[in-house]
Symmetry: C2
Subunit: 550 residues, 2 copies
Amino acid sequence: MPIKLLIIGGVAGGATAAARARRLDEHAEIIIFERGEHISFANCGLPYYIGGVIENRDDLLVTTLEAFRERYHIDIRIFSEVTAIDAKNKQVEVKKLTTGETYKESYDKIILSPGAEPLKPPLEGIELRNIFNLRNIPDSDQIKAYVDTRKPESAVVVGGGFIGLEMAENLVHRGVSTTIVEMLDQVMPPLDHEMAAIVQAHLKEKGVTCDLGNSVESFSEKGERIIVSTKKGNDIECDMVILSVGVRPENKLAKELGLEIGTRGGIKVDATMRTSDPNIYAVGDAVEVKDFVTGLPTMTALAGPANKQGRIAADNVLGRKSVFRGTLGTAVVKVFDMTVASTGASEKLLKNNNIPYLLSYTHSGSHASYYPGAEMMAIKLIFSPGSGEILGAQIVGMEGVDKRIDILATAIRGTMTVYDLEELELAYAPPYGSAKDPVNIAGFVASNMLKGDVENMNWDEVSDLEQTGYVLIDLRNKDELDESGSISTALHIPLHELRKKLPELEKDKNYIAFCAIGLRGYVAYRILTQNGFKSKNLSGGYKTYLGARE
Amino acid sequence: MPIKLLIIGGVAGGATAAARARRLDEHAEIIIFERGEHISFANCGLPYYIGGVIENRDDLLVTTLEAFRERYHIDIRIFSEVTAIDAKNKQVEVKKLTTGETYKESYDKIILSPGAEPLKPPLEGIELRNIFNLRNIPDSDQIKAYVDTRKPESAVVVGGGFIGLEMAENLVHRGVSTTIVEMLDQVMPPLDHEMAAIVQAHLKEKGVTCDLGNSVESFSEKGERIIVSTKKGNDIECDMVILSVGVRPENKLAKELGLEIGTRGGIKVDATMRTSDPNIYAVGDAVEVKDFVTGLPTMTALAGPANKQGRIAADNVLGRKSVFRGTLGTAVVKVFDMTVASTGASEKLLKNNNIPYLLSYTHSGSHASYYPGAEMMAIKLIFSPGSGEILGAQIVGMEGVDKRIDILATAIRGTMTVYDLEELELAYAPPYGSAKDPVNIAGFVASNMLKGDVENMNWDEVSDLEQTGYVLIDLRNKDELDESGSISTALHIPLHELRKKLPELEKDKNYIAFCAIGLRGYVAYRILTQNGFKSKNLSGGYKTYLGARE
Ligand SMILES: Cc1cc2nc3c(=O)[nH]c(=O)nc-3n(C[C@H](O)[C@H](O)[C@H](O)COP(=O)(O)OP(=O)(O)OC[C@H]3O[C@@H](n4cnc5c(N)ncnc54)[C@H](O)[C@@H]3O)c2cc1C
Ligand SMILES: Cc1cc2nc3c(=O)[nH]c(=O)nc-3n(C[C@H](O)[C@H](O)[C@H](O)COP(=O)(O)OP(=O)(O)OC[C@H]3O[C@@H](n4cnc5c(N)ncnc54)[C@H](O)[C@@H]3O)c2cc1C
Ligand SMILES: CC(C)(COP(=O)(O)OP(=O)(O)OC[C@H]1O[C@@H](n2cnc3c(N)ncnc32)[C@H](O)[C@@H]1OP(=O)(O)O)[C@@H](O)C(=O)NCCC(=O)NCCS
Ligand SMILES: CC(C)(COP(=O)(O)OP(=O)(O)OC[C@H]1O[C@@H](n2cnc3c(N)ncnc32)[C@H](O)[C@@H]1OP(=O)(O)O)[C@@H](O)C(=O)NCCC(=O)NCCS
């Protein structure tokens, strides 16, 4: 008897699982149930469709129903919601949303890929028209139609995660003046504060207002417009609202069946993506998986892991042993001209879990400085103080950011260390990189810290240190100070004069050398300490310090 | 007593070694001897300076003499050629090229970073004017001055390696019609033939003539012009010639001293970059190092390794143990709109050394197809038939190529396998990649081969197989055949009709399924074999097949 596999949810995880299952088993009976009208669509493209960057709506349909049925011989049932799973009798209840009819369907195995739904906080006025969520094509049709026909002047985006930022950018493209209201004191929660600050500065430059550390209390109508009332007390009047305050795993079926659920609502699965019921697998936004770096349970609402897990679940359903070894949460988002990316653990995650770490900040050009178009990127590298194993990285810049985060994600997957980063032999020609790639440089700096060749301090320690008798030395040239200012208490000794000025320094003082990005500060550290002075280098230099405080 | 370190050659390896040595040891006496006028210049930028892409000559000087002297307190002697090393008395002989004077300088340690000089084959007429080599700034000044003032109409570039290709591109930028004469039957020797063929097609599109499998026999003058006479008998008339037929390590000093030299002329070093003389280290283009993948001795004339080796040599000179674990030869070159990159071992290298390998061809979009600007790239992945360890990769395409080669170079460094590539969690948002990145796809395909889930055949086996009774099935749709043709003997069964047409196929025949890129061929393989038919899939599909034969 061929196996009968039901797949619940027909988009990223579900469609992939179905395709893989068919490739593995030509004779299996495979049925996809999808509540909505579309399977296999490009959720990730929706903001760009609204923004007019993706012009053709059909482009959002990665595969059509017909193509999928013909190529993969899969029974696809759209507008079909699975409303209950009866594990004892191994059957599910299905509701045809077009007619309201229900029927039962038996199974041998189930793969759940129901995704996560946008949170809709129970605020007064949340049901007012022109307040939108964005998950699927009908949602984006609504938003796009509104923007196309009503030509709104202003919008509030509630939530500054990656979907919020993409929406802000795309609304600005459409001429809509946009304010982001975010509860945290930063956008992009996977980043640490000081890296997010760089993004916020760019948003400001592009005319987007970030109202941080604030939250919405209620919505009300004023004629055609909406008043967004906030906790801080400021009212924002606008024509439309996008809610992007996060997602909640669609765990209703799993919960009702009594499958194990994690504390944050994710369906628990083992490394084979099997739930606590041996015949039911679950993948994607709805599941709780292991964080590859920390080993802690986590949830990632990202398409890459959903797709990979779908493939792995199909393998295991069909008797192959395939495992998911944990997620890095590698993510990237375009924010106007900027690329913002992260992989692995953030500093705050490690801090919250008392996991020891060290970190370095570096700033490097996307490619050789002498070839036109090079742009600086800021890299935060987080690594283990013992072995030097890479724990996480965050990169913000205009060019080449996605490449470096992928190199680092690969290195983390290979449990490589910062010493390995020193040695990476990356492709270099002037249009693409440098003989010492930004990733090599990050490796050099981190290795130097581990070997005790430099003692760094971070931007957030500066104000404390000043009070405890440290002396700051600004090593930059005069024109640099004139251009971007300095820390008021700092001595000014350009690096090239440092050796000459040593007689003026005092051996019992603690010096904090700093420059623009940390390189000259490091060189100064080497000069000072080898001449018997006590010194530290400000990691990432004035650039990181200033960026974090903006 | 502070250590006295002499560095011979002041550019990539030498300047880096000097800077690192100073950072490690504030008190060392460090002298750089450089034969030329410039230290620390951007060799790699020279073609772009000639092409006018880099407009400002000063941009080629990565660091000035003064900055280097002031920051690093290094005694820099330009126009100073070291003419002999007297290891017994630990001193070198230096010739001041401005005056012809010579003097001796004692040392504790030497780092040799003399680089490699362009080969100048002893051909008749090679000394004619307007025949140029390109290694340093004076060379590029000459070429640029010639192009600027004489406005040549046509050029011959002898040698189709990366410098030859960059020169061809930059000459075309300047309006010079260019022919490349190359002895091999392909450009870009680190690539395999079929990957180079894609580059050749692009060169043709851009108006560059590639005269492959041909070599220059002599040069002669015809008025202001040059006649390039070739082995094949065709004469090419042109206004200028660029010689880029490879480089030869500058091993004269080392040879005369009796240091161990490899068969191809590279100075032999151990993993600490030490030569056979315990006080002399050598780095960069002049040395023979270990190939990371094969373990064989090799030479790479690339700036990344030169820089890294310089740093490692300085470490060891100053008493730290630092090792160079071998080179991957990771390289990238821009060829007009195309990026061409490789890392690790090529198929031909493995074949020549009887090292077993498997390979896969895949074609993937640089980012999600529904987001504007996605471009296809061709990936050749080479891996070990046993463990699946990645041995090498070659990628050609318009966008995102450098990123994927760097991911693969990192994976090779981490001795990762194709199974690891399946799992890599790379950054995905529509402008940057796909939920299944091209590297993941390459991993899937290779893993499927290793697990026996597909049996592939390669483009170069097709013609043989046809003769031995195989039946080709073209799975593409009619419009695709109309557009790009097919293999004449192939049956045409679009994939979506395959299941229906199975009754018309014969169980004792051997079918070779093929499509555009290999995906549908793989799906067909799964359908065919699970229904009792014998099949293979044409790796990389018609695209690889056609590209290789162009
Ligand atoms: C606007 C937007 C932009 C995004 N951008 C990115 C990005 O740039 N990069 C990235 O990595 N990720 C991005 N994502 C996230 C990514 O789309 C998700 O991580 C991924 O789609 C999750 O896959 P999934 O299969 O778990 O769930 P989904 O793809 O959401 O599919 C779940 C499907 O299951 C259906 N379903 C649920 N319950 C039932 C039921 N009981 N019966 C029948 N059907 C049911 C739902 O209707 C839904 O269609 C974005 C998401 C959105 C909304
Ligand atoms: C046109 C061009 C483009 C290139 N593009 C790229 C690229 O895109 N990517 C890449 O990775 N690599 C590229 N390279 C190669 C790269 O520049 C070299 O690999 C690198 O410079 C080698 O460093 P090195 O220190 O070994 O030698 P070099 O940088 O060549 O330095 C050697 C120096 O030693 C001096 N010298 C030699 N003998 C003596 C002596 N006896 N006494 C005193 N001085 C001496 C020489 O004058 C020379 O300046 C390119 C090279 C060229 C010429
Ligand atoms: C469209 C969709 C159903 C495709 O699923 P899929 O068939 O598993 O994925 P792909 O089309 O990338 O094909 C991958 C398969 O083809 C094979 N393949 C790809 N290129 C190949 C080539 N050149 N040669 C041979 N095989 C190839 C791979 O090995 C893999 O097969 P396997 O899993 O059996 O190893 C699914 O990705 C989807 O629904 N996507 C849209 C939804 C979504 O992901 N949304 C979120 C992001 S916007
Ligand atoms: C210019 C040149 C002398 C610089 O050499 P260098 O000082 O070793 O290299 P960089 O300027 O990249 O600096 C790297 C050093 O600064 C440190 N550094 C870089 N950024 C830093 C930061 N933000 N914070 C702290 N330290 C930093 C690194 O750790 C490294 O020091 P280390 O080797 O002691 O660990 C050398 O690269 C050169 O001559 N280049 C031109 C020639 C050439 O390479 N040609 C071929 C390519 S075109």
